[in-house]
């Protein structure tokens, strides 16, 4: 059964590869992304972000189940304000927009479809387990770093923020340090 599902995933991937358009030139995509970031600076006075929206989401979920605990937890309380719904936050709206924008771009380019991104030598199950663990590690990293690739590296990078540049260098350093042991997942 597992191998049938596996083949289907591969066939679909191959089919998509036939219809999907190639990706945009990286410099053009970078200019587009940079102008979006610039418009955020000019219009709102802040940059892009992603992890903050996840933090709001988690704070909201915890406040539904255990409102007293969510209030007393110093980290979660930072995302909860009296009289304002926790999801009524700038980054939550921005990330919902990012979902819509990505879907739009994907549909226009023929790149939307069920798939699992992985190398040929790793099982779907192992890949999904690693995706979950990697997501968890990254949540810790983004919490300590006070932002992620978008909120710190991209936004703080453009503003020449000291902590953002230190953070960005360490992201690349950490990733290159463990790339070889995890090669099997991707190559």
């Amino acid at each position: 059964m597992a191998s049938v599902a596996h083949d289907v995933v591969h066939e679909r991937a191959a089919e998509r590869a036939r219809v999907a358009q190639p990706y945009m030139n990286p410099y053009l995509a970078g200019i587009g992304l940079g102008l979006v970031l610039l418009s955020a600076f000019v219009l709102v006075g802040r940059g892009l972000g992603a992890s903050g929206a996840f933090n709001s989401g988690v704070a909201w979920l915890v406040s539904l189940v255990a409102p007293g605990y969510a209030r007393s937890n110093e980290f979660l309380a930072g995302y909860l304000e009296d009289g304002i719904h926790p999801l009524k936050a700038w980054l939550v709206f921005e990330v919902v927009g990012a979902f819509v924008g990505a879907l739009l771009s994907g549909l226009l380019a023929g790149r939307v479809g069920m798939a699992v991104e992985k190398g040929p030598r790793v099982s779907v199950r192992a890949r999904l387990a690693l995706a979950f663990v990697g997501g968890g590690l990254m949540a810790m990293g983004a919490a300590f770093g006070r932002g992620c690739t978008s909120g710190q590296a991209l936004t703080g990078g453009a503003l020449l923020n000291l902590g953002s540049w230190a953070f960005m260098m360490c992201v690349f350093g950490g990733a290159y340090a463990v790339a070889l042991p995890f090669r099997r997942q991707w190559r």
């Binding site: 000019v42 988690v58 798939a115 949540a139 990293g141 453009a158």
Partner: protein, 199 residues
């Protein structure tokens, strides 16, 4: 000074959320265009055969950096009103390293996992769930990790302040670094492609 518009009262909180949604659309659109909904494309950066992550990121940084610099010089944008995250350098060094490891293990970062989920990748969705679980875990452990979370507090600092270099000079330095970085990245990609062809 006319900008930042929101901070100068040109529109209110409710409108700022609509602006957030529209800016988000542009954000997600260009991330997907660049191929960043694909974990394999993203991690290629760390196996050196496709350095698009570096190229896109640094082109975006340079574009936005030059934009804010010129708009500030022209007297249009008050850069002091643009929010800067305070630096806690020890916490951020630890956070950056963890994020880097998580990138290779999980295949995405928070923003790109949203793009990946939006385009139907199951691993992207699972990454999002892992991220939510990790955030919850961090919140639970917060009393224990608070010391590290606040370590290296030096307040709001920019590189020009720390290095004692004028803002414009540093901007020029970053542009030079990016240009040489792009040339180096393309050289590495060609070398890797030639080696793969040999095999």
């Amino acid at each position: 000074m006319s900008a930042p518009f929101f901070k100068l009262g040109a529109f209110g909180d409710e409108t700022s959320l609509i602006v957030a949604f529209l800016i988000g659309i542009g954000f997600g659109f260009f991330l997907e265009r660049a191929g960043f909904g694909s974990a394999r494309k993203l991690v290629s950066q760390f196996y050196l055969d496709d350095l698009a992550v570096f190229k896109v990121m640094f082109t975006a940084i340079v574009t936005a950096m030059l934009g804010v610099t010129y708009l500030a010089w022209a007297g249009f944008l008050d850069l002091s009103l643009v929010y800067l995250v305070p630096t806690y350098w020890i916490a951020q060094v630890v956070g950056g390293l963890l994020l880097g490891v998580g990138f290779v293990v999980g295949g995405y970062c928070p923003g790109t996992s949203v793009v990946s989920t939006a385009t139907g990748k199951l691993d992207g969705l699972v990454f999002v769930l892992g991220f939510a679980a990790g955030t919850f875990g961090f919140a639970l452990a917060f009393p224990l990790v608070k010391g590290l979370y606040t370590a290296g507090d030096v307040g709001t600092r920019t590189l020009p302040q720390v290095l004692g270099v004028p803002h414009g000079i540093l901007v020029f330095g970053v542009v030079l670094m990016a240009v040489f970085g792009f040339m180096g990245a393309t050289w590495v990609e060609r070398k890797m492609a030639a080696e793969t062809a040999k095999e």
